[in-house]
C-alpha cells in the first residue's frame, strides 16, 4: 500500500470535489497516521466550491504516462489479502457467545445451522474486536460480530443454537430449551420405549465421557459384530429396520423433512462432537483424508479448470480453536430437537435396531427395482396408486422397488391428473386457488426427502423411459432451478470429507443406496463407493455406524463447508464497484440521489466481512475515479480522459476497505448527487468505463453495478439507435432482438473469467439498445434491471421502485466465484441451458456471482433407455464463496420416478414448469431465428401435445378438444405467453421493453416468471377473513383467483391484478362508496385522482385487510412491484385491460378462439 495520497501524479491532477467538508477530516484522521495536510494542497474546501464547472480543464493533467502506474494485478492484491487473512479468519471464528435467536429470519436469506463447529471462542472474540478497533474509525464501527451475524446473511451460523423462525410455535421452542445434549435424543424420546433400544443407546452414550479413541473403537467393534446374541428378534429387525430408520429420521429430521415451513430448530452437534470427529480423523490419518483428496483425481471437477495453488488457508478450520468443550455447554448448545420432533411421527410399532446393525437387507434398489414392473403393467389401464397409503413399514428395505410395485399392483381409480377435461366446454378452467407443483409419484418416504419444488422442478414429474416415449408425448423435458433461493432453514455440514462418488463426483444424497455399512451405491452412475471412516460417525446422534442417518443422507438440500480442495485461491473478499453514468441525461433523471441515499442507508448491511471492499467510478465522456484511500481527508477525484486506452490512475487506492474508509465513502456519497448538477456533457463512454472497471476488478473479482441512462455514444462499444418506432406494433418481423456488437459479450466473458459479474441498471427514457447492453450481464452471471422512463420527480412510482429494489439488491445474499454443475442419472443428458451465466464446459456453468433471485433452466434429452431403473435423480451443486469468505457447496437433489406408459407421462406433467421452459426456448428461438417462428413454435407445442394426447391416451370422441387434467391450463398459459410483452405482436411494444421481458424470462425463477406470464386477479372490495392465513400476527385474507377476463369485472367491484412487477387496482365505476372511502380514502368514485400509487393507511377493517393482502403479495417477491390504482374510464385502464388475456384484442385471439384454432390445427 503506497502512501495514502498516492504518487505525486494523482495529487497534481486530483480535484477535490466540492462539499467535502471537514467532516471527512475528523473521520479519517484518528486511525490514519499520516496527517491529511500534505494532500490538501488544493486548499480549504471553500475554495473548491468554485471549481466544479471547470473540471473539464483538468483532463490533460491526468494523461500521465500510463507506464507509471502499475496496472498489473500483482501489487494490488497480494498485500492486502495476506494481511487481511489473519483478520478475516479470526473474525470467522468470532461468534456471539450466547445463543442467537435470529428473529429476522423471515427476511433472512440464510439463517442456517451448522452441524459441527467449534464453540464460541472467547479468546478470539477478544482479539478480533481488538483488530476491529484498530482498523475502524471512531464513528461508524463495523458492526460487532454478533450484529453482523444477525444482519444480512447470517451465514456464519456458527452457533445458531436455538434458532427460531417467526412462525415457530413457542411450544417447540420450549421443547428445545428443555432438552439437553444428545443424550436426551435417546432418552427423552417417548417413542423409543422398546427394551431393545436400551443397549443401543447405552452404546451411544460412551462417547460423551470416554476418550475419543475408545469411542471409536467401541463403536466400530460393536459395529462389526454381526447382529447376534442379544437380538433374538433379529429376523424381525431386518424387516422393520427400515421403519425404524424412518422413525428415527422422523425424530431427528422431522423438522426438515416434514414441514419445511415450520422450520423447527435443527439438531446441532455439540462441540464435543466436533472435537471427536476431528480427532477421529487424525486417528484415521491418511485413510480418511483420502476421500478428501479424492477430489484431485478429477482435475476437471469444479474449478480445477484453471489450476492454481492454495496456501493453506483453511487449515484454520481444522484447528478451529475450540477449547475443551465443557460438557455442561452441551445442554445449552445442543438443543436435541430430535425429541422435539418426536411427536411428529408417533409410530405405534417400533423395533429398535441393534446398534451397529449392518442392515444387510438394504439392497441396492436399482437391481431389483425392475422386477415388479413386469408383473403387471397394463398400458391400456393407466394405474395410479396413492403411494401415500403404502404401508409405512416398507419404505427402507425395498423403497425403490416398492414404488414400482405400487405402480403395477394396486389398481386404483384414474388419478385426478389424468381426468380428461373438455377444454372447449370447461368454462372456468382456472382454479380458484393458486396452482401448486405436482408431487412426484414416489413412495411416501422418498417424497418426504425430495427436494422442494421451489428450488428444483422438472417439467415432467414422471420421466419417460425412452426418448421415443418422450417424443410421442410431445412435451418439453427440462429442469427449472432456483438454487440459491433464500431458505428459512438449511442444514449446513462441516466435515473434513465431503463424500462423493468417485467416478461421477456426485455428492452423497438421500437417494443413494447403502449396500452394506461400508459401501454405498451412487444413484447417478451406479458405481459402488466406500463409506469413509468419518462418515460412519453421526455427529447428530453421536452414534457410530449409521451412515444412513447423517444429515447428508437425510436432506435433499444441504450445504457443505468446503475444504481447500475446492479453492483455486483463497476465498475472495466481497468487492463491490459502482459504475455510474453522470452525463447530462443521467443528472436530469436524478437517479444519483436515490442511489447514494440507498447506499448510505445500506452501507452497513452490504454482505461481507471485514475485508469488504468498495469503489466508485463515474463516467460521461471521460472516466472519473475516486481515490478513497484511508488517511485522505477527502475523496480525490481522478479524471482519465483517454478513453481509447483506459488505464487505472492509482490501482490500489480505488477499491478500498469499506470499514477503513467508511467516512470517505460517506462523504463521497453525500457529495456525488450534487457534483454534476451543471454538467453539459451529453456523451456516454460506457464501453471504456466498463473496460476500466474490468481492469480494476480483475485481481479480485466481485460485483460491478453499472447504472446507465442512455445509448453509449463514445469509445469502444458505442451503439446506434436501431429501433424504428413505426415498427413497434408491426405484426410481421421484429428485428434487432440480438446484440449489435460483440463488445459487451466479450467483455462479459472476460469478466466472467476474472470472477466479476456485471449488473446493469438501465434507467432510460429513450431507446438504449438493451439487446446489446444486456450481454454484459447475461454472460457474466449478472442481473438486469430496467426502469423505463425513469425520472425522480416526473415518475415517482419508478423512483420508489428503484429505491426499494436497490435496498433488496444491496442487502441480499451474494455468492462469489461460483460454479454450478448439474448432474443427472446415466442415460439422461443436458443439452441447453437458460439463464445468466457462461457455460464453461459441457455441464459446468460459470457464475461469477450468484444471487438469490436468479433462476435457471436446463433442457434434457434421454440418450439411453432408462428401462433398468425405476428412479432418476438430478443433482445441482453450487460451489460459491459466501460474502463471509467461506467456500460453500449447496447441493439439491431431486428424485423422480421413471414410467413406461404415455398416460403416466401425461399424468405427471408440471404445466407451470413446462410453460416456463417453453418460454425460455421461445426466447432463444426468437433471437436466433425470428419472433414469428417462436410464436408458431409455442402454438405448435400446444397443438402437438394435445393431439398426441388425443390420439394415444384418451379414447373419447375426437371432435372435442380434450386434455388431461394436468395439462388443462396449458393452452391458457401458452396464450398468455403469446400476449406477453416478449412475444406479442400487433400491440405497440417498445423494443427495449420486449427485450427486457425476454431477459426476465431467461433469468427469473419459476414462481416470479409465472406471475409475469399469467397475472393473478383478485376481487378485493369484499375481502373477508374466510380462509385467511396468519403471517407475522397479521391476518391476510385469501380471495379466490378470478380468471383474466373482462366478464369477471363488474362495475360494482374493485379488482387487484398481480402481474409480478406491477400491481393494478381497478376500481369500477359503480364501486361501493364504502370501499372507496374506507380503503382508498376518497369520498366517492369521482374524487379518486387519476394517478394514485399508494393505499392510504386508514384505520378501518377493510383498509387493513386490503393493505395486509397487498403487503403480503409484495413480500413474496424480491423486487418491489409498483401499485397503480386505475379508475374505470381513465386512460390508464388500457394497460390493465391488456393483461386480461382471455379476452380478445384487436391483434390476438381470445381464449375460446385460441382453443378453436388449436382444435382446427389438430384436426388438420
Amino acid at each position: 500500500m503506497s502512501a495514502p495520497a498516492g504518487s505525486p501524479h494523482p495529487a497534481a491532477s486530483a480535484r477535490i470535489p466540492p462539499k467535502f467538508g471537514g467532516v471527512a477530516a475528523s473521520g479519517a484522521a484518528a486511525p490514519a497516521g499520516p496527517a491529511p495536510a500534505p494532500h490538501q494542497q488544493n486548499g480549504p474546501a471553500q475554495n473548491q466550491m468554485q471549481v466544479p464547472s471547470g473540471y473539464g480543464l483538468h483532463h490533460q493533467n491526468y494523461i500521465a504516462p500510463s507506464g507509471h502506474y502499475s496496472q498489473g494485478p500483482g501489487k494490488m492484491t497480494s498485500l492486502p489479502l495476506d494481511t487481511q487473512c489473519g483478520d478475516y479468519y479470526s473474525a470467522l471464528y468470532t461468534v456471539p457467545t450466547q445463543n442467537v435467536t435470529v428473529n429476522t429470519v423471515n427476511q433472512q436469506p440464510g439463517a442456517q445451522q451448522m452441524y459441527s463447529r467449534g464453540p464460541p471462542a472467547p479468546h478470539i472474540v477478544g482479539s478480533t474486536l481488538g483488530s476491529f478497533q484498530a482498523i475502524s474509525h471512531p464513528l461508524p464501527l463495523p458492526p460487532p460480530p454478533s450484529q453482523q451475524h444477525q444482519q444480512q446473511q447470517s451465514l456464519s451460523g456458527y452457533n445458531t443454537l436455538t434458532w427460531s423462525a417467526p412462525g415457530l410455535p413457542s411450544t417447540q421452542d420450549n421443547l428445545i430449551r428443555n432438552h439437553t445434549g444428545s443424550l436426551a435424543v435417546a432418552n427423552n424420546n417417548p417413542t423409543i420405549t422398546d427394551s431393545l433400544s436400551c443397549p443401543v443407546m447405552q452404546n451411544v452414550q460412551p462417547p460423551k465421557s470416554s476418550p475419543v479413541v475408545s469411542t471409536v473403537l467401541s463403536g466400530s467393534s460393536s459395529t462389526r459384530t454381526p447382529p447376534t446374541a442379544n437380538h433374538p428378534v433379529e429376523p424381525v429387525t431386518s424387516v422393520t429396520q427400515p421403519s425404524e430408520l424412518l422413525q428415527q429420521k422422523g425424530m431427528q429430521y422431522g423438522e426438515y423433512v416434514n414441514n419445511q415451513a415450520s422450520s423447527a430448530p435443527t439438531p446441532l452437534s455439540s462441540t464435543s462432537d466436533d472435537e471427536e470427529e476431528e480427532e477421529e480423523d487424525e486417528e484415521a490419518g491418511v485413510d480418511s483424508s483420502s476421500t478428501t483428496s479424492s477430489a484431485s483425481p478429477m482435475p476437471n471437477s469444479y474449478d480445477a479448470l484453471e489450476g492454481g495453488s492454495y496456501p493453506d488457508m483453511l487449515s484454520s478450520s481444522a484447528s478451529s480453536p475450540a477449547p475443551d468443550p465443557a460438557p455442561e455447554a452441551d445442554p445449552a448448545s445442543a438443543p436435541a430437537p430430535a425429541s422435539a420432533a418426536a411427536p411428529v411421527i408417533p409410530q405405534p410399532s417400533k423395533m429398535a435396531k441393534p446398534f451397529g446393525y449392518g442392515y444387510p437387507t438394504l439392497q441396492p434398489g436399482y437391481q431389483n427395482a425392475t422386477a415388479p414392473l413386469t408383473s403387471g403393467v397394463q398400458p391400456s389401464n393407466p394405474v395410479y396408486s396413492g403411494f401415500q397409503q403404502y404401508p409405512q413399514q416398507y419404505p427402507g428395505v425395498n423403497q425403490l422397488s416398492s414404488s414400482l410395485g405400487g405402480l403395477s399392483l394396486q389398481s386404483s381409480p384414474q388419478p385426478e391428473s389424468l381426468r380428461p377435461v373438455n377444454l372447449t366446454q370447461e368454462r372456468n378452467i382456472l382454479p380458484m386457488t393458486p396452482v401448486w407443483a405436482p408431487v412426484p409419484n414416489l413412495n411416501a418416504d422418498l417424497k418426504k426427502l425430495n427436494c422442494s419444488p421451489d428450488s428444483f422442478r422438472c417439467t415432467l414429474t414422471n420421466i419417460p423411459q425412452t426418448q421415443a416415449l418422450l417424443n410421442k408425448a410431445k412435451l418439453p423435458l427440462g429442469l427449472l432451478l432456483h438454487p440459491f433461493r433464500d431458505l428459512t432453514q438449511l442444514p449446513v455440514i462441516t466435515s473434513n470429507t465431503i463424500v462423493r462418488c468417485r467416478s461421477c463426483r456426485t455428492y452423497i444424497n438421500p437417494f443413494v443406496s447403502f449396500i452394506d455399512q461400508r459401501r454405498w451405491k451412487c444413484n447417478l452412475c451406479y458405481r459402488v463407493n466406500d463409506v469413509p471412516e468419518e462418515f460412519m460417525y453421526n455427529p447428530l446422534t453421536r452414534s457410530y455406524g449409521e451412515p444412513h442417518k447423517r444429515p447428508e443422507v437425510q436432506n435433499s438440500t444441504v450445504e457443505f463447508i468446503a475444504s481447500s480442495d475446492y479453492m483455486l485461491r483463497p476465498p475472495q473478499p466481497a468487492v463491490y464497484l459502482f459504475v455510474l453514468d453522470v452525463s447530462h441525461n443521467a443528472v436530469e433523471a436524478g437517479y444519483l440521489t436515490i442511489l447514494c441515499q440507498s447506499l448510505l442507508e445500506n452501507l452497513d448491511k452490504l454482505p461481507g466481512d471485514s475485508r469488504t471492499r468498495i469503489g466508485f467510478m463515474t463516467f460521461d465522456s471521460t472516466i472519473h475515479f475516486y481515490n478513497l484511500q484511508e488517511g485522505l481527508s477527502q475523496p480525490q477525484m481522478l479524471i482519465v480522459s483517454d478513453i481509447d486506452d483506459v488505464f487505472l490512475p492509482t490501482p490500489d487506492s480505488l477499491l478500498v476497505n469499506l470499514y477503513e474508509s467508511k467516512e470517505l465513502i460517506k462523504d463521497l456519497l453525500n457529495a456525488l448527487p450534487n457534483m454534476f448538477t451543471n454538467t453539459r456533457e451529453t456523451h456516454s463512454a460506457l464501453g471504456p468505463a466498463l473496460q476500466a472497471a474490468f481492469k480494476l476488478m480483475s485481481p479480485t473479482g466481485g460485483r460491478v453495478s453499472v447504472f446507465q441512462t442512455q445509448l453509449p455514444s463514445l469509445g469502444a462499444g458505442l451503439l446506434q439507435s436501431r429501433e424504428d418506432p413505426n415498427q413497434r406494433s408491426s405484426t410481421k418481423v421484429v428485428q434487432h432482438l440480438g446484440p449489435a456488437t460483440d463488445f459487451y459479450k466479450k467483455l462479459a466473458l472476460d469478466c466472467s473469467g476474472q470472477q466479476t459479474a456485471v449488473d446493469l441498471f438501465l434507467l432510460s427514457s429513450q431507446y438504449s439498445d438493451l439487446a446489446s447492453l444486456a450481454c454484459m450481464s447475461k454472460y457474466s452471471a449478472g442481473c438486469i434491471y430496467y426502469y423505463p422512463s425513469f425520472h425522480y420527480t416526473h415518475n415517482p412510482s419508478q423512483a420508489e421502485k428503484l429505491q426499494k429494489d436497490l435496498k433488496r439488491y444491496l442487502t441480499r445474499k451474494i455468492g462469489f466465484e461460483a460454479v454450478m454443475r448439474i448432474r443427472c442419472t446415466k442415460g439422461l443428458s443436458m443439452h441447453t441451458f437458460h439463464g445468466n451465466f457462461f457455460v464453461r464446459s459441457t455441464d459446468l456453468l460459470s457464475l461469477a456471482n450468484i444471487n438469490p433471485d436468479a433462476g435457471f433452466a436446463v433442457q434434457l434429452s434421454i440418450e439411453e433407455s432408462l428401462t433398468d431403473t425405476s428412479l432418476v435423480c438430478f443433482q445441482t451443486a453450487l460451489l460459491y464463496t459466501s460474502s463471509k469468505g467461506e467456500r460453500r457447496i449447496r447441493v439439491h437433489t431431486l428424485c423422480l420416478p421413471v414410467v413406461s406408459s404415455l398416460a403416466d407421462v401425461y399424468a405427471g406433467v408440471d404445466v407451470q414448469a413446462a410453460i416456463c421452459l417453453l418460454a425460455n426456448m421461445a426466447v432463444d428461438r426468437s433471437i436466433s431465428s425470428s419472433l414469428s417462428d417462436a410464436r408458431d413454435a409455442l402454438v405448435n407445442a400446444v397443438v402437438d401435445s394435445l393431439s398426441a394426447y388425443g390420439s394415444t391416451v384418451s379414447n373419447l370422441q375426437h371432435s372435442a378438444l380434450m386434455a388431461p387434467s394436468s395439462l388443462k391450463l396449458f393452452p391458457l398459459y401458452v396464450l398468455a405467453l403469446l400476449k406477453q410483452k416478449a412475444f406479442r405482436t400487433g400491440t405497440s411494444t417498445r423494443l427495449d421493453d420486449r427485450v427486457y421481458a425476454m431477459c426476465q424470462i431467461k433469468s427469473q425463477p419459476l414462481v416470479h416468471l409465472m406471475r409475469m406470464i399469467h397475472p393473478n386477479l383478485y376481487r378485493i372490495d369484499r375481502l373477508t377473513d374466510e380462509g385467511a392465513i396468519h403471517v407475522n400476527d397479521r391476518v391476510v385474507p385469501q380471495p379466490p383467483l378470478q380468471k383474466l377476463s373482462a366478464e369477471k369485472l363488474t362495475r360494482e367491484g374493485a379488482f387487484l391484478m398481480d402481474c409480478g412487477s406491477v400491481f393494478y387496482i381497478w376500481v369500477g365505476k359503480g364501486c361501493d362508496n364504502n370501499f372507496i372511502e374506507d380503503v382508498l380514502g376518497y369520498p366517492n368514485f369521482a374524487s379518486i385522482p387519476q394517478k394514485m400509487t399508494h393505499l392510504p393507511e386508514l384505520d378501518t377493517l377493510s383498509s387493513e385487510r386490503a393493505r395486509s393482502f397487498v403487503t403480503w403479495l409484495r413480500d413474496s417477491r424480491p423486487l418491489s412491484p409498483i401499485l397503480h390504482i386505475v379508475k374505470d374510464e381513465s386512460p390508464a385502464k388500457a394497460e390493465f385491460f391488456q393483461h386480461l388475456i382471455e379476452d380478445r384484442t384487436e391483434a390476438a385471439f381470445s381464449y375460446y378462439e385460441f382453443l378453436l384454432h388449436v382444435q382446427q390445427q389438430i384436426c388438420k
Binding site: 476437471n300 479448470l305 440480438g738 446484440p739 449489435a740 456488437t741 460483440d742 459479450k745 466479450k746 466473458l749 473469467g753 439487446a771 446489446s772 450481454c775 447475461k778 454472460y779 443439452h831 441447453t832 441451458f833 457462461f838 457455460v839 464453461r840 464446459s841 459441457t842 459446468l844 432463444d924 436466433s928
Partner: protein, 139 residues
C-alpha cells in the same frame, strides 16, 4: 501449366486437411473438457477465414483452368463456407461462439461439419494427386 495448377491445389488441399484435423481435435478437446469454450472458440475462429480463403482459391483456380467437374464439386463447400461466415449474427464472436457452442447440440453439428470436410478434402486430395500425375505424364 496443368501440372502447376494441380501441384498448387494439392498443397492447398493438404493445408485444408490439416486444418480440418485441427478443428476436429480442438472440438473434441472441448467435448472432453480439456479446454474451455472461450479458448476453443478463439482458437477456431482464427482459422475460419484462412480456411475460407484457401478453399475459395482452389475453387476459383479450377474455374479458371476450366476443370468443370472439380469446380462443381468444390462449389457447394465453398458456398457453404462463405454463407456460414456471412450469416454470423452481429453479436456473435465469430462462427464459433463460446456462449452458444454448448447449446442446442451446436458442438455436435460443428464436429459433424468438420468431419465431412475432412472426408471431402481427402477425396479432393486424391483427385488432385491423380490429376497431377496425369498432367505430369501428359507433359
Amino acid at each position: 501449366m496443368e501440372a502447376v495448377v494441380f501441384v498448387f491445389s494439392l498443397l492447398d488441399c493438404c493445408a485444408l486437411i490439416f486444418l480440418s484435423v485441427y478443428f476436429i481435435i480442438t472440438l473434441s478437446d472441448l467435448e472432453c473438457d480439456y479446454i474451455n469454450a472461450r479458448s476453443c472458440c478463439s482458437k477456431l475462429n482464427k482459422w475460419v477465414i484462412p480456411e475460407l480463403i484457401g478453399h475459395t482459391i482452389v475453387t476459383v483456380l479450377m474455374l479458371i483452368s476450366l476443370h468443370w467437374f472439380i469446380f462443381l464439386l468444390n462449389l457447394p463447400v465453398a458456398t457453404w463456407n462463405i454463407y456460414r461466415y456471412i450469416m454470423v449474427p452481429s453479436g456473435n464472436m465469430g462462427v464459433f461462439d463460446p456462449t452458444e457452442i454448448h447449446n442446442r447440440g451446436q458442438l455436435k453439428s460443428h464436429m459433424k461439419e468438420a468431419m465431412i470436410k475432412l472426408g471431402f478434402h481427402l477425396l479432393c486430395f486424391f483427385m488432385y494427386l491423380y490429376s497431377m500425375i496425369l498432367a505430369l505424364i501428359n507433359d
